[in-house]
Structures are given as structure tokens and as C-alpha cells.
């Protein structure tokens, strides 16, 4: 069997004890993999360690135990192979939108001429729909949606092997979120980019991803399930809600977040190595849901 593009093995992150307290285990024994070109979302309640996992993937943080192999190499620090869109956009406020994108392009291609850098940056700003003078404005003079577009353009423009997005649309109003989601799908289908994205929006996860990882509540959070989104692409926001698979998947996710994420949490009595998360396909048109029903008792018994 061929090795997956990204392999996360036994990833554990603990913070040392504050004075007089116990060390904090944010999550432990996280095991999952991501294939090339795959769009994977991760969902879990606030504080379960999603951002921490992403920071480790980005190379900005290091795991306490375990590790991540990407393209056959261990991740040991930040790299231009992994582009990051931070939760709060993280644009440099003293640079215009265009200069922010150029900042990334220049870092990626130090040998390019200024004209090349400008042309490449403008191409990506155009791709996210930021043109007509807006690209010369500073982030403070742009709306939240426009800022997020610049941030996405900057990340795509460096053409990383893996794109990491931390709740990229969390701060946007529903309308803007919808448009940018559509743009993200369009760009993603055109570029075959591998994407790992954090979200707390169930519908967003179903619309965008091939697979959704579910995390139990922290501390001692785990990646419990890997939910395959069996909905054909290209997906249209208005149409997928009529797909019968949509509500099966949605109900599964909501049920997990509402009930099982809590029930399964803190279950560190499990064996030391968690093993890969359970793969579930609630969307399959299987008449008696063979795939899904038997797996639940198995999971519950494993928890104990």
C-alpha cells in the first residue's frame, strides 16, 4: 500500500503544569492521514486543540509526543510548502493588499523580478475577486471579507503543497461567508490543492470537504471519527441540501457534537496508542446502513 501524503502518528500535546497544577494534556494519540489533493475539515468544540494541531502541522508548534510525516519527510519547522491562513487573517497592516500578497510571493521566489512578482500577485488577487483599486488599500480600509480574500490569495499564491486554514470564515457574516466559500471551492478545484481546514460550521464542512475529522472535547481530546462526505462534486450550496446524503451526514455530525463529543471525552483510559479514527460513511446510499450501524457499538465498547 502506498503511503499517504500526510501521516499524523500518535500526536500528543501537553502543556507543562502551571505552578501547583497538573500538566494539561490538550489532546493525545491523534492518528490520521491526508491524501494528496484531498480537502479535509476538522470539527470539534472550542478548546479541544484544533488550532494546536494546525500549528503543529504548520511547524509553529511542536508535539510532545508523536510526529507528522509529509511527503516522506518529518515536519520539524515552518516551511513555504505549507501555507497558512490564520484565524484573524494576519495581514501585515502597514502593507497594501497587493504588497501583502507580494510579501509571500517574494519569499517563495526570491529570484523573480519585481514585475514577475507583481503579475503573479495580481493574478491571485484577481482569482479571489479583489481588483479595481481595492488591492492598493491597506487592510484597515478593507472589509472583513476582503481581508480574508487577501489572506487566501497570499496563501494560494505561494502554491504550497498543503494549505492550512484556521476557521477562515468564522468572523464573517453569512452572505460574505457563502461567496468566499464558493470562491474557495472554485480555486481548490482548479489547483488540486491539498487543504486542511478547521471550522465549527457543520454545513461549511459538508459543502467543502472530502472528509471530516471529528474531535472529542478536551482535555485529553482525540480524533475519534473520520466522516467521508459521499456527495458528488461539483457541489452547489443550493443543490446539495436536496441530496439525501446531506442530512444523513449533517445529523451524524450534529449528533456527535451535541452528545458523543462529550461522552467520549477524557477517555484516557484507552490503550496508549489510539489507532486511526473510525471511518464512517453516513452518506452512503446503503439501504440498511451496514457501514454505519455496526461501527457504533464497536466504538462504544472500545471506550468502555
Amino acid at each position: 500500500m502506498e503511503k499517504p501524503f500526510i501521516e499524523v502518528t500518535d500526536l500528543t500535546r501537553r502543556y507543562p503544569a502551571a505552578k501547583g497544577g497538573e500538566p494539561l494534556t490538550v489532546f493525545e494519540h491523534a492518528n490520521f492521514s491526508i491524501e494528496k489533493g484531498e480537502f479535509v475539515c476538522i470539527i470539534g468544540h472550542s478548546g479541544c486543540g484544533k488550532s494546536t494541531i494546525m500549528n503543529i502541522l504548520a511547524g509553529l508548534d511542536a508535539p510532545t509526543e508523536g510526529g507528522i510525516i509529509m511527503g516522506g519527510k518529518e515536519i520539524s519547522g515552518p516551511s513555504l510548502d505549507r501555507g497558512v491562513v490564520f484565524q484573524n487573517y494576519s495581514l501585515l497592516p502597514w502593507l497594501s493588499a497587493l504588497k501583502n500578497v507580494m510579501f509571500g510571493v517574494r519569499a517563495r521566489h526570491p529570484d523573480w523580478s519585481r514585475d514577475q512578482v507583481v503579475a503573479h500577485s495580481e493574478q491571485y488577487l484577481e482569482m479571489v475577486g479583489l481588483t479595481g483599486g481595492a488591492e492598493h488599500r491597506k487592510p484597515a480600509q478593507l472589509s472583513g471579507g476582503m481581508r480574508q480574500r487577501v489572506s487566501i490569495a497570499r496563501a494560494f499564491a505561494i502554491q504550497p503543497q498543503l494549505l492550512l486554514l484556521d476557521e477562515p470564515f468564522g468572523a464573517l457574516d453569512a452572505l460574505t461567508r457563502g461567496t468566499i466559500q464558493d470562491e474557495l471551492i472554485r480555486i481548490w478545484s482548479a489547483t488540486e490543492q491539498t487543504v486542511f481546514m478547521i471550522t465549527h460550521d457543520v454545513d461549511e464542512a459538508i459543502l467543502l470537504s472530502d472528509r471530516i475529522l471529528l474531535m472529542t472535547n478536551g482535555p485529553f481530546a482525540r480524533v475519534a471519527e473520520s466522516v467521508v462526505v459521499d456527495i458528488a462534486r461539483p457541489r452547489q450550496r443550493a443543490e446539495i441540501i436536496h441530496d439525501p446524503a446531506y442530512y444523513k451526514i449533517r445529523n451524524h455530525l450534529v449528533e456527535f457534537l451535541a452528545r458523543r463529543s462529550k461522552e467520549l471525552s477524557g477517555s484516557h483510559g484507552r490503550e496508549a496508542s489510539g489507532g486511526p479514527p473510525l471511518t464512517v460513511r453516513p452518506g452512503l446510499k446503503d439501504p440498511d446502513d451496514k457501514e454505519r450501524e455496526p461501527s457504533w457499538p464497536k466504538l462504544v465498547s472500545a471506550v468502555g
Binding site: L60, L80, R82, G83, N88, S90, F103, A107, I158
Partner: protein, 278 residues
């Protein structure tokens, strides 16, 4: 029909009215110059009474200002130089000492802002040296440097260094973690991170320190020049006081204020150009 007068114009008008009212009250409060002159002329003729200093009326100060400013750069020997020359001497000392201080304070501030270890190591020295009145260094400077010019510059140097050092360190230490992470994820080296991310991010704070420093330097130069003598606006004030020429004293006080205001405005301009909105 109503005429809308902009707020700025109103404020300007009010300022002018206040100025005129103040000058008018001053003019009326001072005993008439001729009377004083006649009396003292008589006294002088009879040899009685030392020359007495009177607070001059504003009209006399304005007259003095017109005369001085129409020929600011004349030079008739050590004790008779134009106001322009005196101010130029002071500005030269202030700017030399100030830029030497910036040359040292900003890199060191960067270093201690980046490294908590250096910060902790240098902090006790900064805390002890900072509250020392810059003039307290003067005797030591005169003894070691053996040159009054250079000593004045040293005093400016030592008083300018602290606000710049502390603000640079503070600004650098408080650069948002997110922006550092942007530099990291783009694999920027430490030199590029320093110049392309940390410096622009900390620039407004650094410029605030530089602006405070230039203000302090301009305050201190007057006192320093009163001590070392020779040239400069501080020496000029003191010299005119010894001549009992209060008109010149008041005129030079106003000039000190105006030059200080211009220096501050120049730094405010630079500060605005590096300011950014988050």
C-alpha cells in the same frame, strides 16, 4: 442665511483673540518705556542708581524680534552673534548628540526587545542610569572629554538615549505574535524578519520614543549651554540676562519655544508616515 464657519477657523480666531488680549494686558501693565527711560537717564547722569532692569512691553519685544530676524546671522565677535547663529549652534549640538544616541539606542533596544535574557541583564543598568539628571554628567564629561563643546553633545546624547532605548525595546517585544508567525511560515531569515516585519511593526512605538527624546534634548541644551558657555541659545539667554537686556531674554525664550515646536512637528510628521491602523 447662515454662514458655516469651520471649527479650525473658529479655533484660530479664538487663539488670535487670546493672544491680542494677553499682549494688550501686558502692554498696559508695564510702566511706559519712555517714562522709565527718562528717569533712568536722569539717574544715570547723576550717577545715582544702578541700571535697572524693567520687564519690557511686548511692543519692544516685537521690535527686537523684527530687528534680530531681519539679520539673524551677523557675527560681531564672541558676545555679539545673530540669533540664527546661536540657534544653529544649539541645533547642531542637539542633533549630533541625538543621532549618536539613536545610533546606539535603537540597535540595543532591538536586541533587548528580542531577547528576554538581554532585557533582564541590562534592565538594572537602565533603571539606575535613566533617572540621573543629564546635567549631573557635566562635570565628569568636562573632566574626561576636556572639551566643552563635546561635553554638551555628550549630555544631549545621554539624555536622548533612554526614551529611544526603552520605547524600541517595548515596541519590539510587543510585536504581535501573528506577524512573527507570518514571517516564520514564509521562511524569512532573522535579518529579513527584523527589517520587513519587526521594524515596521514597532516603528510607531520607536518614533514615539524618538519624539520624546528630541523634546528632552531641546529642553536640556539650554541648561547645558548656560553651564558651558561660549555659543548657543542657552548661552545667549544667560549672556543677555547678565547684560540686563530683558527684551532679548524674552525674545530668545520665544525663539526657543518656536524651534522646539518645529522639531516636534517634524517628528510628528515622520511618526504619522510610519503609523498604521490595525
Amino acid at each position: 442665511m447662515t454662514i458655516v464657519v469651520p471649527e479650525r477657523a473658529k479655533a484660530l480666531l479664538l487663539s488670535l483673540l487670546l493672544l491680542i488680549a494677553f499682549l494688550g494686558a501686558w502692554e498696559l501693565a508695564v510702566p511706559s518705556a519712555e517714562k522709565a527711560a527718562q528717569q533712568s537717564e536722569y539717574e544715570m547722569l547723576t550717577g545715582g542708581g544702578a541700571p535697572q532692569a524693567h520687564v519690557p512691553p511686548p511692543s519692544q519685544v516685537i521690535g527686537k524680534a523684527v530687528k534680530e530676524l531681519s539679520n539673524p546671522f551677523y557675527d560681531n565677535g564672541p558676545n555679539d552673534k545673530g540669533i540664527g547663529i546661536q540657534l544653529a549652534y544649539s541645533l547642531y549640538r542637539v542633533l549630533t548628540g541625538y543621532f549618536l544616541a539613536a545610533l546606539i539606542a535603537i540597535p540595543i533596544g532591538f536586541l533587548i526587545g528580542m531577547s528576554p535574557l538581554f532585557y533582564k541583564a541590562l534592565d538594572p543598568f537602565i533603571q539606575v542610569l535613566r533617572p540621573i539628571s543629564p546635567l549631573a554628567w557635566m562635570p565628569l564629561a568636562l573632566f574626561v572629554i576636556k572639551d566643552s563643546q563635546a561635553s554638551a553633545i555628550f549630555v544631549i546624547f545621554i539624555c536622548s538615549i533612554w526614551p529611544m532605548l526603552i520605547n524600541t525595546a517595548f515596541g519590539v517585544a510587543n510585536v504581535r505574535k501573528d506577524w512573527i508567525n507570518v514571517a516564520k511560515t514564509h521562511e524569512l531569515g532573522s535579518l529579513r524578519t527584523a527589517f520587513q516585519v519587526i521594524l515596521p511593526a514597532a516603528a510607531p512605538t520607536i518614533l514615539t520614543g524618538m519624539r520624546i527624546s528630541i523634546g528632552i534634548a531641546w529642553l536640556v541644551i539650554v541648561a547645558a549651554e548656560m553651564l558651558v558657555g561660549g555659543t548657543g541659545i542657552g548661552y545667549y539667554v544667560w549672556n543677555e540676562w547678565n547684560n540686563l537686556d530683558l527684551t532679548s531674554v524674552i525674545f530668545s525664550i520665544i525663539m526657543i519655544g518656536l524651534v522646539g515646536m518645529l522639531l516636534d512637528a517634524a517628528f510628528a510628521f515622520v511618526q504619522r508616515s510610519v503609523q498604521f491602523q490595525e
